[in-house]
């Protein structure tokens, strides 16, 4: 994931992605996922390119990008830690866990640590409800997150 790119580079790579996926029925979400995988976020400057290639208005593209929680408008930290905030995890003390994580990282949800090591995000259900509380670090899943498991996660993000 390269997040320092020039504008012309962004345009070229974006057009490549759009050309690869444009033939799909309903290509918008696959294109946005591919852009986020490429740049780590959805840069503002890709919106007019998508609009012109898919024959949509810029407002429509902006509307789609901002509707979905998954798409970011700026790069995340080197790691993304998602904590489940839904009911099954609440029943197993996820609120206390969230307080502990916020305290350990010194940030709130939707924030990134100053050293850009980690971004903390809430997630509403990872489908790990029978081994709650659950978390996901960069796509790796963790169940029954206790103090021991949390220290492993913290060691991982501080690397």
């Amino acid at each position: 994931m390269n997040i320092r790119v020039s504008a012309s580079d962004v345009a070229e790579r974006t057009l490549g992605i759009i050309r690869d996926l444009k033939h799909l029925e309903g290509p918008m979400l696959p294109i946005l996922h591919a852009i986020q995988a490429e740049f780590g976020y959805v840069p503002e400057e890709v919106k007019p390119l998508i609009a012109s290639e898919l024959n949509l208005s810029r407002a429509e593209v902006h509307g789609v990008v901002t509707f979905y929680h998954e798409f970011r408008d700026h790069p995340a930290g080197r790691h993304v830690l998602k904590l489940c905030r839904a009911e099954a995890c609440q029943a197993m003390g996820s609120d206390r866990l969230a307080d502990r994580v916020r305290q350990l990282l010194g940030i709130d949800f939707h924030q990134t640590t100053l050293d850009r090591a980690v971004t903390l995000e809430p997630v509403f259900c990872l489908g790990l409800c029978a081994c709650a509380p659950a978390a996901m670090l960069d796509g790796e899943v963790y169940g029954r997150v206790d103090e021991h498991c949390l220290s492993e996660i913290m060691a991982e993000v501080r690397q």
Binding site: P30, E70, A88, L126, A130, V141
Partner: protein, 518 residues
């Protein structure tokens, strides 16, 4: 002779360390020069025992669990390959009480086979339903599904066969089968388990739906929070194409059917079928007004079947064993089996597939074994974030669509979250409103504005500000949301709020105001 060891690849097993266990097992095999094959299966659905390692012996599969990577060396020393006794040994997997009591029709293969081995799938009755469907007229397939009594397992409980008939009868150049795998309800993981543990059964079910309705294309819309399910489904589709199950000629027949896997982007409301269709088309996941029904004007305006994962995955067994066989399970108008997911603060959490009709108390106390913390059960929420909270006096309610509706609740996708006596039901009611506010698509006012006002009103009750007046206001707001919202998000958010308020009034009692400092 080669011995087979099974280590699950299910996301919940991975979350509990299955990858480390599999690595440790592979290391032991290499170090000891053993003739052992490791199969990464799905989960059996007993999550308090995960990672659950199984060994194939001449007596049957012997289970060990929960296994940690550090246990592996000792297990091999003690004769793991012969299924020898050990403190972690659970005996024959099939004899474990939690599994023995189940009726596994939809999940018959889950946790047993290698999810990506099409040979394994065939060897366990795979594609028998599809082969029978190919030999039948489309109207007969639809009739068989209708006769089975199968109802939408996503939560709405609409008869699957009737939906299919509408699409079958609709004239169109292109029709679609869309599988709703946006399983966003807390306490539910059945869709995830089947996609990770037996993906071909879903592909088979969708192909049957395609042949029955004349649809030649399908999509599985999977939530982005399920990366493992997405990866497994994508691989399974490739394997199915190479094996001639998907493509121009399904299993050599004149029927054509192909599938695409699409990922959502973190929007709970996209589990609502019309909002899912908008999302699939690349639009904002805004709810559409009905009519027109998706069955007539769905994806890209074409007739579309939108079915939940479990509904579609239940079709192969209905086609293979017949509608009578399936229909004979269950009670009242709830026919067949339902994969109940027991989660939250529970001792034996997992997936329990059984015929409709068990009481809530049997599920929570006998099968689930009470709470994980050992404290008394205070409430259980049935049906995810839009489901009602049930107190112990209602634990005699049988698991059945109509019985739950009669108690102002819903089965939903059959997820049950158990809470112990430390739960604060006012806080849970507030969360229901907060969740609705976060996830509302914004199209209709009762849901968009009502949820935010609901959070504020709950906060006032919490702070002891005019509690009686604010409780009445909250009830009035719920009434408006229930009857004025376009879809189930705003329409059902009142269920958890009102049930919390009605069944646990003590948690909504006024707290004394802290006097302001002079």
């Amino acid at each position: 002779m080669t011995v087979t060891i099974y280590v699950p690849r299910d996301a919940a097993a991975l979350a509990l360390g299955a990858e480390k266990v599999a690595k440790a097992i592979t290391q032991e095999i290499v170090a000891r020069g053993l003739d052992v094959k490791v199969v990464r299966n799905g989960s059996r659905g007993m999550f308090w025992l995960e990672p659950l390692v199984e060994v194939e012996t001449d007596k049957g599969r012997i289970a060990y669990g929960p296994v940690k990577a550090g246990d592996v060396g000792g297990l091999f020393d003690n004769g793991l390959l012969d299924g020898a006794d050990h403190p972690l040994c659970l005996g024959l997997t099939e004899e474990i009480e939690f599994l023995r009591q189940q009726t596994r029709l939809t999940f018959a293969r889950c946790g047993i086979i290698d999810p990506l081995s099409i040979e394994d799938y065939r060897a366990h009755h795979g594609f028998a339903g599809l082969e029978k469907a190919i030999a039948m007229a489309s109207a007969d397939i639809v009739k068989q599904v209708t006769d089975s009594g199968l109802r939408g397992r996503g939560g709405a409980g609409f008869p699957t066969g009737i939906k299919w008939k509408t699409v079958m009868d609709a004239p169109a150049g292109q029709k679609y089968i869309v599988c709703n795998a946006d399983e966003g309800d807390s306490a539910t993981f059945a869709d995830r388990m089947i996609m990770e543990g037996d993906p071909f059964v879903l592909i088979e079910g969708m192909a049957i739906a395609g042949i029955a309705t004349g649809a030649t294309k399908g999509y599985v819309y999977i939530r982005s929070e399920y990366p493992h399910a997405i990866a497994t489904m994508r691989q399974a589709v490739e394997v199915a194409r190479a094996a001639g199950v998907l493509g121009q000629s399904v299993l050599g027949s004149q029927h054509s059917f192909d599938l695409g896997i699409r990922s959502g982007a973190g929007a709970y409301v996209c589990g609502e079928e019309t909002s899912l269709l908008n999302s699939l088309e690349g639009k904002r996941g805004i709810v559409r007004a009905k009519p027109p029904l998706p069955a007539l004007q769905g994806f890209l305006g074409q007739p579309t079947v939108v079915n939940n994962v479990i509904s579609l995955a239940s079709v192969p067994v209905i086609m293979d064993q017949g509608s009578e066989y399936y229909k004979n399970f269950g009670m009242g108008r709830s026919r067949g089996t339902i994969p109940i997911q027991i989660a939250g603060n529970v001792k034996h959490g997992g997936l329990f597939e059984t015929a409709f009709g068990l009481t809530l108390g049997e599920i929570v106390d006998r099968i689930g074994g009470g709470t994980a913390t050992g404290r008394p059960v205070k409430a259980v929420q049935v049906g995810g974030p839009l489901g009602a909270y049930f107190p112990r006096p209602l634990f005699d309610t049988p698991f059945d669509y109509e019985a739950f509706a009669a108690k102002d609740g819903l089965i939903g996708h059959a997820g049950i979250t158990v809470f112990d006596d430390s739960a604060d039901m006012l806080k849970q009611a507030r969360f229901a409103m907060e969740f609705c506010a976060i996830e509302s698509c914004g199209k209709c006012t009762p849901c968009r504005i009502g949820s935010t006002r609901g959070v504020e009103t709950a906060d006032k009750i919490m702070a002891g500000i005019e509690p009686e007046k604010n409780k009445a206001l909250l009830a009035d707001l719920c009434n408006t949301m229930k009857f004025g919202s376009l879809c189930a998000l705003g329409g059902f958010t009142p269920y958890p709020v009102m049930s919390a308020m009605n069944h646990f009034p003590e948690d909504f009692a006024p707290v004394p105001l802290i006097e302001a400092a002079e």
